[in-house]
Symmetry: C2
Subunit: 423 residues, 2 copies
């Protein structure tokens, strides 16, 4: 037994020959070979893969990160890819071949054996993020009146059940009648939730007409869970997972810039609002000092609210309900926070500046902004979902930016009314 350590990853000498690298990697788990190869040049990765037997090469290819794999596939020729893909399980073969550009994709498909080609072509029809997109087509079935020894020979039902049964028993008496299945067009994230809920290791996938189309295994589900978590976090951070594999500053910059531009435009929007209220600001400069309090609070409240709403939309738990119910809960929380924080800021500003009117304007506006941000944070995810956009976007920089502008508008709007009325 070897305890798990990253020491399983071999540090290859970049100057070594592909033959000697392949020799050093021999006997390692394909995942460790892949992790070791991700540290060398793509050209060299390809040359090492050519040294390995096709089955190992296929398993290593599947374990490479998506970016390195795409580069390797661009270098390998069609017969090489077909040779490797022929050794893979159908879902992995479809992933590899689906990632190819035309005409290379057709060339590889043409080089596959008849049966393999049909299976891969079938799988390629499903969209990437659906149950069909992650299922494999390899499965066997037996009639329900088959005998156990026949089922053992073909490998269906839990092997544990079969091994413990009498060889002459009928399969119908052993099988689970209420097997959970998913349809091929179900979103992969929902499939993951089904696995997690029922503690599954594999699940049958059915086509809309109810025929068995394939099966999904838990190893692919772990990848789905990981990818989806990464995607959510990337949306919140205003970047994309792809930049992990980018060394070029220009390309990373291109990935991050759109969200920074959103922030910059939002900031210019805020500047426009402040410019509009410049007379009030000239009269009471201290009003400007509390703009960062207002924007920080609007941003934080909006993010807390939208995060909880998006989460509860996903997990079908007790709190899922209609927009109105959720809004009521969030308002109760927001009112509590508005009273506490608005009151605290009122006291602090009053004691600090000795100007209790300024204190009332800042404290009151802060309370109003908290209520507005909680409302936006609740309504946005529902609105986005209705127009077909991932509600998670409500947790990203776009909505925070919107909250900034609205917050300043509410703050200076209230402040200028107050200043005009009371002089």
């Amino acid at each position: 037994m070897v305890e798990h350590h990253d020491e399983n990853v071999v540090h290859l000498d970049p100057a070594a020959s592909p033959e000697s690298m392949a020799e050093r990697l021999a006997g390692l788990h394909p995942a460790d070979i892949a992790a070791s190869l991700e540290r060398v040049e793509v050209e060299m990765v390809t040359r090492v893969l050519r040294q390995l037997d096709q089955e190992t090469a296929g398993d290593v290819l599947v374990n490479l990160d998506e970016h390195t794999r795409a580069e390797v596939l661009a270098i390998l020729n069609a017969p090489e890819i077909a040779g490797v893909a022929g050794e893979l399980e159908s879902d992995d073969a479809a992933d590899v071949i689906g990632a190819l550009e035309e005409p290379k994709r057709d060339e590889v498909l043409a080089k596959l054996e008849e049966d393999d080609r049909k299976v891969v072509e079938d799988l390629l029809q499903y969209t990437d993020e659906s149950a069909g997109g992650i299922m494999t087509s390899e499965f066997v079935y037996v009639d329900q009146d088959a005998r156990v020894d026949d089922a053992i020979a073909r490998g269906v039902i839990s092997l544990r059940t079969l091994v413990l049964a009498q060889p002459g028993a009928r399969v119908e008496d052993l099988m689970e009648p209420d097997v959970v299945t998913v349809s091929a067009d179900m979103d992969q994230e929902d499939v993951a939730e089904v696995f997690r809920k029922y503690d599954l290791v594999a699940i049958p996938v059915v086509d809309p007409d109810g025929t068995l189309a394939g099966r999904i295994t838990v190893d692919d589900i772990m990848d789905v869970m990981y990818e989806e978590a990464e995607e959510d976090i990337s949306i919140m951070a205003g970047t994309r997972e792809e930049e992990f594999h980018e060394d070029s500053a220009l390309r990373v910059s291109r990935i991050r810039l759109p969200w920074l531009v959103v922030g910059a435009l939002g900031g210019l929007g805020s500047a426009t609002v402040m410019n509009f209220y410049r007379l009030s600001l000239e009269k009471v400069l201290a009003l400007a000092f509390f703009v960062p309090v207002i924007t920080a609070m609007g941003g934080n409240v909006g993010l807390q609210t939208s995060t909880i709403i998006v989460r509860s939309m996903r997990t079908d738990r007790r709190l899922v309900g209609e927009t109105r119910q959720r809004l009521l809960r969030e308002w109760r929380v927001a009112i509590t926070n508005a009273i506490i924080l608005g009151g605290a800021i009122y006291l602090i500003v009053g004691l600090w500046f000795g100007d209790w009117r300024l204190a009332a304007v800042v404290g009151g506006s802060l309370a109003a902004v908290i209520l507005v941000a909680a409302t936006l944070g609740t309504v946005m995810p529902f609105a986005l979902r209705r127009i077909g956009i991932d509600p998670a976007v409500a947790q990203g920089p776009f909505v925070t930016t919107l909250n900034d502008i609205i917050g300043i508008l509410v703050y200076l709007g209230l402040a200028s009314t107050f200043i005009e009325r009371l002089g």
Copy 2:
């Protein structure tokens, strides 16, 4: 076969008797019974559980969300809990019993059978988030010179391998010599990464002295992955997963307030900085208009940077490296973005206000703030890790708030120097 739908969740009439509820739920998967019960009062959940046989009651209890489960366990008495826990696998029994307060925990342990108690007590010694905390102690072993039919009878090695082998073959010839194991004190998140990397369904857990302590199965790993993703997102949003199960506005408010207070204090810090530079602001009021641009940009750049750093710290991929290397990459990206965004803002402010000195101050400060935020976003996760704090905290409101203050300080510091020298 039943296709998966949330229709598996039964909508119970809250006025029904516990007996009739138990009848309606009979035959459902324990996960569905749990999901159905989460919609009724906790008192009633407890009464329905008492109607179920102990094994089903245990499976349902384990499937309840943590919050409902804690409330149910507070109502059940020690003999009831011991009866149910006796039917559970050891890891689930340890979770249930570990969640109890003293003296109830000892009362339940005392009521368990001798063997079960010893196992649960052993498991309770491991910390919650370690491999030991999620492993079960049920496993069997055979000597390597045992015969296959003996191993089948006891259920070790992959059943598939055993079934396909000759009954008289020796186990040593079939077993994987290089099984991956994890140590009992490994963090559960790292264990999940091992499962994902090697596509595992189960893994043996060893104690520091190398003896086999238990095994972890993939169903628990899916829960770990889900929890960790939720935790990361909650940290970023400045809230906690617990509030999902809170209906009380006051208690939700108490969960969210700490982060809002951080934001408010940060905002007051920014106000202090602006007050310090009030002479410059009085001279050029328009300087205040661009404070939101500066804070938005510092916040977004800091979040993008820290997110990528925290992610790459976790996944041991190509980009992991020393602080200095990472800093160099992030600086190259930040310089690119600083030039593009600083230049754009320079032009916009110049054309808008016709004041090219103001434009230079705002554009130049924005560029400087981008560089500072990228530096903080890179250094913070490493610094937090060094002092033993989860680096993910660098993605939360605390660091964004710090970025706000530093951004305004840089901006107004540069602006006032500029105004004095040229003004």
